[in-house]
């Protein structure tokens, strides 16, 4: 291996091992291309603002004197920012060090010499692929005003408007949708080009030598054909001979075809892609929710559970592989995605951090097999997340436990217990039921005794419970995992304890505020 090749390989390994370099590259890659990266939004907004500033300065220059400072800003500052962006995109487009290492290791494996020039060609080819892409060409043209002070070339500023495609998602969707119909557009373009070519030549032959005709050059003929085929028809140039009018008839009829064909292609492209666009929008929305419950399966129980969780101010995301059920959930106004909750790929697709974003996963399908499968998929990705599942048949309880479900709700057993309670102590049961349903304005709430509270209060008697008409049912000591019922005045309260309190909803709020601020509000 010659010196250059050795140096290239050594340097590539150095870059791969260099954490700050990798971090910086990842940061810029995310900033430029990762739609889920939180700071990309701000970067995009800044670039959009620069584009509009540029265009406004260009418009202002046409008939007014623009301040020299603005001109300099437009020519140098904006262009320089765009140039830096262009170079960053070129840098992050491919990972050269990885390509070198991959090629080197392949050479070692195949026992053939590692050629510096071969890898150089490969690297240049990869970068050229980016440079010749439409987006990169637009970027480059948008920088052009920086190099040219010629007035005509200032029109290149308008290329900056095309850059908006990079920063606005809806424009990206629009371009993607149209890209699907590439074949149809090419066919249409070829058809229109042939018609324009034939009609331009024909009208030129028919009219060019006629002194009454305004068509004197081939460009006049081409201009007239374009204006006529796209049904604009300014009327500044009109055929003077019968033969010329015959050509006009031909091109007008073709023009109707071209317009209707174009419209139908665009409409059908949108119709076909509409669901996909909506779905991708929903996915993007979900990945931005900070904390939510993930409901797997939209069956009867799910409807009631989701409603209750939302009523309590929670965010809920529903996943179900049945598009019909998802449509129903969406029509109810819930956030729902038509994805299989049992597939790991689903979670990669929706790009959520289970640990950080999901409060708990609820397996609510009316099918134990599906719930076990979903629970296992989730557990294989995260061992800590809270998993709750309903159980349809008692025989499958152990399987759900084995799949790592923390809370199992067996409806039949719950009903059995409720039935027993109803038969014995109906009044007491009704009282508890009224408390649970919160219909009578009295709530039973859990209040975490946090650090701020523990700095001000140490004993129950300091809480001033009578003032807020709060009943302290008990204190749950997390560390000891024990519930202390009816704690009297001298009982000590520690940070992290959970107070179980009963009282009027608004007074509970006042009481919580009091514990936080120690200012009586009554």
């Amino acid at each position: 291996m010659n010196f250059l090749a050795r140096w290239t390989v050594d340097f590539s390994y150095y870059l791969r091992a260099n954490k700050p370099y990798q971090n910086i590259k990842t940061f810029f890659k995310n900033l430029l291309d990762n739609n889920n990266y939180p700071y990309k939004r701000y970067f995009d907004m800044m670039m959009i603002a620069l584009i509009f500033t540029s265009v406004f300065i260009l418009i202002g220059e046409v008939k007014n004197d623009v301040h020299e400072g603005w001109k300099l800003f437009n020519d140098y500052v904006v262009s320089l920012i765009f140039l830096i962006e262009y170079l960053l995109r070129l840098w992050t487009y491919s990972d050269n060090s990885e390509l070198v290492i991959e090629s080197y290791e392949k050479s070692l494996y195949l026992e053939r010499p590692f050629s510096f020039f071969r890898i150089l060609r490969k690297l240049i080819r990869v970068k050229l692929k980016y440079i010749t892409s439409i987006a990169a060409i637009i970027d480059l043209l948008a920088i052009m005003p920086f190099f040219h002070q010629l007035r005509l070339l200032r029109i290149f500023i308008l290329f900056r408007v095309f850059k908006l495609f990079r920063y606005t998602k809806s424009l990206q969707h629009f371009a993607k949708v149209l890209a699907v119909k590439k074949f149809e557009f090419v066919t249409l373009f070829v058809f229109a080009s042939i018609i324009v070519f034939i009609s331009s030549v024909l009208i030129y032959i028919m009219e060019a030598n006629n002194p009454n005709s305004s068509i004197n050059t081939l460009f006049d003929a081409f201009y007239w054909s374009i204006v006529t085929i796209f049904t604009v028809g300014y009327g500044d140039i009109t055929p003077a001979t019968d033969a010329g009018r015959a050509v006009a008839i031909l091109i007008i009829i073709s023009g109707i075809g071209v317009i209707s064909f174009t419209t139908s292609i665009i409409v059908s492209a949108f119709t076909e892609k509409l669901d996909e666009i909506k779905e991708s929008q929903h996915i993007a929305d979900v990945s931005k929710i900070k904390k939510f419950y993930l409901v797997c399966g939209y069956d009867e129980v799910s409807v009631s559970v989701v409603q209750k969780l939302i009523q309590r101010g929670n965010k809920v995301v529903i996943l179900d592989s049945s598009s019909e059920k998802i449509k129903r959930a969406q029509s109810e106004g819930f956030t729902a995605l038509n994805l299989d909750p049992a597939e790991r790929a689903t979670y990669h697709k929706i790009n959520i951090d289970l640990k950080r974003q999901v409060k708990a996963v609820l397996c609510l399908r009316q099918d134990d097999v599906a719930n076990v499968y979903t629970a296992l998929s989730i557990r294989s990705m995260n061992s800590e997340i809270k998993l709750l599942s309903i159980l349809m048949s008692i025989n499958n309880k152990k399987k759900l436990e084995a799949a790592g479900v923390n809370e199992i709700v067996y409806t039949q057993e719950v009903v059995g217990m409720v039935a027993k309670e109803l038969s014995g102590k109906a009044v007491a049961f009704e009282a508890i039921h009224a408390l649970r349903s919160e219909h009578l304005g009295i709530h039973l709430e859990e209040l975490v005794f946090d650090e701020r509270m523990s700095e001000k209060f140490t004993m129950v008697k300091e809480f001033n419970l009578n003032k807020f008409r709060i009943i302290l049912m008990g204190i749950y000591k997390k560390e000891r995992e024990r519930f202390f019922f009816n704690p009297l005045g001298e009982s000590i309260v520690d940070e992290g304890d959970i107070l179980v309190i009963m009282g009027d909803k608004s007074l509970i709020k006042e009481f919580t505020l009091y514990l936080h601020t120690k200012k009586a509000h009554l």
Binding site: S423, G424, N486, V500
Partner: protein, 242 residues
């Protein structure tokens, strides 16, 4: 009078769980099963289990039981069948307590109209439990332990006896928590027996004999309180308007 027998209609998982939970509460738990399920039972499984059909003549079943001695559970699979069953049973057992399972709130209304004394809406009950487990885990565990007596804590209803020393006293004047070790969560006034007066609403209710106290506390404390102020027998559901 507290019922001696529990009669359960249906033989699905719900009915089996109800039976399992009621066996310790009543002298006998009797099941009535639809023919297609009943015929699949082995002979030894037929003890206290009888066949019935929705089109039966209900007078025959009515003649077998004293309506004050029974509590009835309707646990058929289908809401429509449960409604039909409840109407038929109510015709025969005018005063019996009939508890019926319903899928949701909509069927709950229909079942109440059909004559059910109490409806257990399956979906809502399950949804409530799930939401509570997620949102209020400590309270869920506490209520579960209290309601289903899985700890020393329990909930009880105590009817104030005549001439009890708390008769005519104001609710808030009694140191329930310090003196008796119990928490009074609600009171049912004997004159307004259809709604709760929650103590934390702040009403300083004047207690009368016949009022029902709903209290939470340890077994021994509740027993002591009951002995001191309560009537000899636990208040039964019939005193409680629906």
């Amino acid at each position: 009078m507290r019922p001696k027998y529990a009669i359960i209609f249906g033989y699905n998982e719900y009915a089996k769980q109800i039976t399992a939970h009621l066996e310790s509460e009543y002298d006998k738990v009797i099941s009535y099963i639809l023919p297609h399920t009943y015929n699949r039972l082995k002979e030894e499984e037929k003890k206290d289990r009888f066949e019935f059909d929705l089109s039966d003549n209900w007078d025959e079943i009515g003649a077998q039981y004293n309506e004050d001695e029974i509590i009835i559970y309707c646990a058929l699979d289908d809401d429509a069948e449960n409604i039909f069953l409840t109407i038929s049973l109510r015709e025969v057992f005018k005063t019996s307590f009939i508890i019926t399972l319903g899928q949701n709130s909509e069927s709950e209304d229909k079942l109440l109209l059909a004559g059910a004394s109490k409806v257990i809406p399956i979906l809502q009950t399950t949804a409530n439990i799930i939401t509570e487990i997620l949102e209020k885990p400590v309270i869920t565990q506490l209520l579960h332990d209290i309601l289903f007596e899985q700890s020393d804590l329990k909930i009880a209803q105590i009817t104030i006896k005549k001439d009890a020393h708390i008769d005519k006293k104001k609710l808030n004047d009694i140191a329930w928590q310090e003196h008796y070790g119990v928490i009074v969560i609600a009171v049912v006034d004997k004159e307004l027996s259809t709604s709760f007066l929650f103590t934390s609403k702040g009403y300083n209710h004047a207690l009368d004999a016949g009022d029902i106290l709903v209290v939470v506390g340890y077994d021994k404390d509740i027993d002591a309180l009951e002995l001191e102020v309560g009537e000899s027998y636990e208040t039964y559901w019939r005193n409680w308007g629906r």
